[in-house]
Amino acid sequence: MIEIKNLHKSYKMGSNSLHVLKGINFSVEEGELVAIMGSSGSGKSTLLNILGMLDELDDGSYDLDGVPIKDLNETKAANYRNKFLGFVFQSFNLINYKSAMENVALPLYYQRVARKERQEKALKYLEQVGLREWAEHLPSELSGGQKQRVAIARAMAAEPKVLLADEPTGALDSKTSYEVMDLIQKINDQGNTILIVTHEPDIADMCKRIVHLKDGVIIEDKKIEQVRAAQYVQ
């Protein structure tokens, strides 16, 4: 599903540049649930942003579902983002003047799905994240956990091939974090490929594979026995 080879990325800051990713080789199969770990500043977010096509790579190759992702024009990039990728941010990134349902329906607008159908689908996904009754509420009226669940519903609504989540539980307490992880596991159970950036070992343990980044390279990549989040959630 994801195939990256010798990926490099640096940020230019004035005259000098900061080499963040220094040759990443890494592939993900369909249906995997991968945790990306590493200390702060190790380049986790940078990697995930590149995978999510929110940022561009400098060097190396990135194939997504067999399609090489490099030097795409904006319209193509928009298409791939829309059809292949769902992104969940640590800071939710909901549109604050749109209700939960409208936020979830937004990617479908860009898929040119008709309004009525958009709303039905959005409600279906809100139902899945357990927020059906909150459909008409604005993000400001939701708790952090609820916001993140709306964001996950939004990422899922476009039915992407890959779901990317940058510290989805970073702003949540542990109980709420487990609820979100439970949801992510269930989505993964349905066969979706998911990558999660996290700091927290217990969250990483709920994935099926852990990738460790340090100073821009992968130092460890192992498959693990998944801990189910459901047992922590009533």
């Binding site: 928009a78 829309n82 990134n93 409208e102 860009y110 898929q111």
Partner: protein, 416 residues
């Protein structure tokens, strides 16, 4: 433009960002409002000033002969020019000139005016009925000389208020009394007065020109001619008309009397509107002033609308990032922002336009201040201004939107 989904998305955005929309709309419409009112009063001031000058600038012109000063066709300078009836007739009948009134004056010399055996020392002038209008005299009693008097060589006379006061204080009315002028009896038919400062000129009495020429051996001599030209729409047209007529007159009279074309002193034509011409430059200055004020007001409007759009788009950078992360195509985002900007600025721009023009329309005709008359605005000018502001706002929104769309999504999302 006709994408219903797009319209719904925009209406959603507008509905849910009422304050932002209201502020944008308000500043656009108040900008238009101020501009239109300002332009309106600029126009009003222009109208008012034109009106004041129009009143002052008489549309009459006076013609009187003098001595020649330049040798011409073998004739020595210093020759006295004498105007004759024929000249007046040619001018009034066959020159095709566009004038409203025409009068001639003959001043007989050495006439004696006697009333009740008293010798009076006033001037006598022969004229026709048009003089009253041309010299702006009003009637206190009776009537002025008229065409019939002229045709029938009637022995009638019109005296001034002053003569009435000084000579006829004993009788109830001078009308019907007789004056003996150089031996002939003239019946008084009217009393006239001069307005304002010209009161000093009330030394005169008028008799029909034909009678004067016949009775006082004037033959066909006339001393001067006066013409009044029509009032035209604009001051400029009037000046042009007067100048053209003056030239025509001058050319004809010089040629007729063998006067050098360069000898302007031999035949004098006094054209008061030429005096008013110096107000022209003032008018031009005023026009320029309002043009400049209007220009800067429009610039200010453009700048403020642009500013608002800049801020609005800046505020939405993060939202743009989110939309892009969800797969929005760049043009769909730019289109959405432009669409909304055009919609809001158009609605509020035209609201401001209608409101301000309505106000001018209602209040304008009632404005009665010196130098301001009927403030109004040319609809086309106001309309173009609104269009200009819409375009400016749209362009001003376009560039930041374009920039926000062009940066990496992650950059846009980082924007706070």
């Amino acid at each position: 433009m006709f994408d219903i989904e797009r319209w719904q998305e925009i209406f959603d955005t507008i509905r849910k960002n009422k304050l932002r929309t209201a502020l944008t709309g308000l500043s656009v419409s108040s900008g238009i409002f101020i501009l239109v009112i300002l332009l309106g009063f600029g126009q009003g001031m222009q109208n008012g000033i034109a009106e004041e000058f129009k009143e002052d600038a008489a549309t009459s012109l006076w013609v009187w002969p003098n001595r020649t000063t330049i040798e011409y066709n073998g004739l020595n300078p210093g020759r006295r020019i004498q105007l004759r009836n024929e000249n007046f007739e040619t001018i009034t009948t066959s020159m095709g000139a566009d004038f409203e009134k025409a009068s001639m004056l003959y001043f007989p010399r050495d006439v004696k005016v006697v009333y009740n055996n008293d010798l009076l020392v006033y001037n006598v002038a022969g004229t026709n009925g048009d003089l009253q209008t041309i010299e702006n005299e009003y009637l206190s009693e009776g009537r002025f000389i008229n065409e019939t008097d002229v045709q029938q060589n009637a022995k009638v006379v019109v005296i001034s208020n002053k003569i009435k006061r000084e000579v006829f204080s004993e009788v109830e009315t001078p009308i019907g009394e007789y004056l003996t002028i150089s031996g002939a009896g003239f019946r008084i038919v009217g009393v006239f007065g001069e307005h304002g400062e010209d009161e000093g000129e009330e030394e005169r009495m008028f008799v029909p020109i034909t009678t004067a020429q016949l009775t006082f051996n004037g033959a066909d001599k006339i001393n001067n001619m006066n013409f009044m030209l029509p009032e035209l729409e604009s001051f400029d047209e009037m000046v042009a008309n007067n100048t053209a007529f003056t030239e025509q007159l001058s050319r004809y009279l010089k040629q007729k009397h063998n006067v050098s074309p360069d000898d302007d002193r031999a035949i004098r034509i006094w054209n008061p509107i030429q005096e008013a011409k110096r107000f022209f430059s003032l008018m031009d200055g005023i026009k320029l002033f309002f043009w400049v004020v209007g220009f800067f007001t429009i610039i200010a409007g453009v700048v403020s609308v642009s500013n608002i759009m800049l801020i609005v788009v800046k505020e939405r950078t993060r939202e743009i990032g989110i939309r892009k992360a969800l797969g929005a195509k760049p043009w769909s985002i730019i289109g959405m922002i432009m669409h909304e900007a055009i919609f809001v600025t158009s609605i509020s721009g035209f609201a401001g336009l209608i409101f301000s023009m309505g106000l001018l329309e209602l209040v304008g005709p009632h404005v009665e201040v010196d130098y301001i008359l009927n403030p109004s605005v040319d609809f086309n000018v106001a309309f173009s201004t609104v269009i200009l502001l819409i375009i400016a706002g749209t362009l001003a929104g376009f560039f930041p939107a374009w920039k926000a769309v062009k940066v990496q999504v992650i950059e846009a999302l980082r924007d706070e």
